[in-house]
């Protein structure tokens, strides 16, 4: 046990926790005035719902003793044998601290998906879907990569959750946009973000919290945490600049929303690579993340599905790029526990990364689709036409965001 590591992990855990309210602000600013609270609520309440699941069976399913490479089983249900001594995943901190850190990741992942079905899903449907999705998609995929499951055993590198969190939520977002359908008035009336300053504030909090997400994933307060911290900053800044530059060329104006979106794209893409690559690689990953994700967001307009807040374009595509980029740029110079990527003479790593990413995409898409259909059959997915026009704040929660 190490008090320095424990202190570092407690702080990192709190930083990751702050990302979920940050996401609520990021999303809340992007929707129309009538849906602000409903949108923020869908992120915020994950802090509660997932915490309960985690204690009862979530941590056990994700990190409990491996059952066939697929799931952790119920050996650690109700956190049985998860206490103050170190567990098998981090030798220098209490097992409970590791579990708390991982809980924050489990919270933000379903919250990310909510951007895809924003402004039209009933709260009851969101609530049920979140419980089902976290149980049947997040916990297994988390186990595959980090809990001793088959993707991890294959040698795939995912430092802080590019596959587990971003590919996973981005793919579920695509299924959500397709199953739930378009918002009423999509492409007929303008859906202007009601308060971009909230979105920029949210992006700032995400960026700040992400230092805990990435550096904390080292699980010790050492050199690898420092590498991850530095890479996080560089990739994020570069992606923000890349996004607004592309916009500037394409439409003539660099936008504030572009800067905020680019920053998030950079954070997403550097996540799997953070502790395995050097700063120059992080710079390349960031620049290309800004360009790829901006391209993906433009492509959505052509493809015509209503991923309201661009979860697919930013988290799905950014996560996929990050997973593959880790297979290109990884170097054991920066982390001896990692691996070398294609650019360091190990092309097999790229293949392994692709297999891991593809598995997460297929599994998440298919199971998310099924869970949405199940939710639809039990509660119905969408608010009624009248409620959607009236707004979800009033019809789902009996509140209004702004009283003037």
């Amino acid at each position: 046990m190490d008090s320095g590591d424990t202190a570092f992990m407690l702080i990192s855990t709190a930083l990751v926790m702050l990302m979920t309210p940050g996401l609520a602000l990021f999303y809340g600013g992007l929707v129309r005035t009538k849906n602000v609270l409903a949108t923020m609520m869908q992120s915020f309440i994950c802090l509660g719902v997932v915490s309960i699941l985690w204690v009862v069976f979530g941590y056990s399913l994700a990190f409990g003793p491996d059952k066939g490479g697929f799931i952790g089983g119920f050996d650690w249900a109700f956190l049985r044998s998860v206490g103050t001594d170190p567990g098998p995943y981090a030798a220098t901190i209490p097992h409970l601290v590791f579990s708390a850190f991982q809980l924050m990741f489990a919270i933000i992942t379903p919250a990310l998906i909510t951007g895809a079905f924003a402004e039209r899903m009933k709260f009851s449907a969101f609530f049920l879907f979140t419980i089902l999705w976290t149980t049947f998609v997040y916990f297994p995929v988390c186990h595959w990569v980090w809990g001793g499951g088959w993707i991890g055993k294959l040698g795939a590198l995912d430092f802080a959750g590019g596959t587990v969190i971003h590919i996973n939520s981005g793919t579920a977002a695509l299924a959500s946009a397709l199953v739930v359908g378009k918002r009423r008035g999509y492409r007929k009336e303008p859906f202007q973000p009601h308060n971009l300053p909230l979105t920029v504030l949210g992006a700032g909090l995400l960026w700040f919290g992400w230092f805990g997400f990435n550096a904390g994933s080292a699980l010790t307060a050492g050199a690898v945490a420092g590498v991850a911290f530095f890479n996080t900053q560089v990739a994020t800044g570069a992606a923000a600049v890349a996004w607004i530059t592309a916009e500037w060329i394409k439409v003539g104006k660099p936008t504030t929303l572009g800067a905020a979106s680019g920053a998030v794209a950079g954070l997403v893409a550097v996540t799997p690579a953070a502790g395995f690559v050097g700063p120059l690689a992080a710079l390349s990953i960031g620049i290309l993340a800004g360009l790829f994700c901006y391209g993906a967001v433009l492509a959505k307009e052509k493809l015509g599905y209503d991923d309201a807040l661009d979860v697919v374009g930013i988290h799905g595509i950014g996560g996929l790029w990050g997973a593959l980029a880790t297979g290109l740029f990884a170097s054991t110079v920066y982390n001896s526990a990692g691996a070398d990527g294609l650019f360091y003479g190990n092309p097999k790593q790229l293949l392994v990364q692709a297999v891991g990413a593809l598995a997460a995409i297929v599994y998440s898409f298919v199971v998310s689709w099924i869970l949405l259909k199940v939710t639809g059959a039990l509660t119905g997915l969408r608010a009624t036409a009248e409620d959607e026009v009236q707004g979800l704040d009033l019809t789902q929660h009996s509140e209004t965001s702004y009283v003037l």
Binding site: P190, Q192, P193, T255, L257, G258, K300, E301, D310
Partner: protein, 112 residues
């Protein structure tokens, strides 16, 4: 008595107010409004989506004056609110039947 209503470019409000102050117009009501005329709308871009926002933000000023000052006030607003570019707005002049000061109950010109 006459009520003058003018739709002007928002950035010219201060200038118009100063000009009216100078000629002794004593009261003014200002509203933020949106609308379109020949200028039509403007483009807004949010990530991949481009929207034509049809209503332009404008300022509406309203003032009430004695009928004989109509030309003077209209000329003053014209001078202060004109840029010569499309979207400078319009001035409307209405006949007014009564003005009442609530505090004293005065009516007509003395209430202006």
């Amino acid at each position: 008595m006459v009520k003058i209503e003018a739709i002007i470019k928002p950035f010219l409000l201060e200038q118009v107010k100063e000009a009216l102050n100078t000629i002794g117009v004593t009261g003014l009501t200002v509203t933020e409004v949106r609308g379109f005329g020949r200028q039509k709308g403007h483009r807004e871009i949010y990530r991949g989506a481009e929207y034509l926002v049809e209503f332009q933000p404008k300022i509406k000023i309203e003032t009430v004056i004695p009928q004989e000052r109509t030309e003077e006030v209209v000329e003053t607003i014209l001078k202060a609110a004109r840029t010569g570019k499309i979207g400078d707005g319009k001035i409307f002049v209405y006949p007014l039947t009564q003005v009442i000061r609530i505090r004293t109950g005065e009516r007509g010109k003395t209430a202006i």
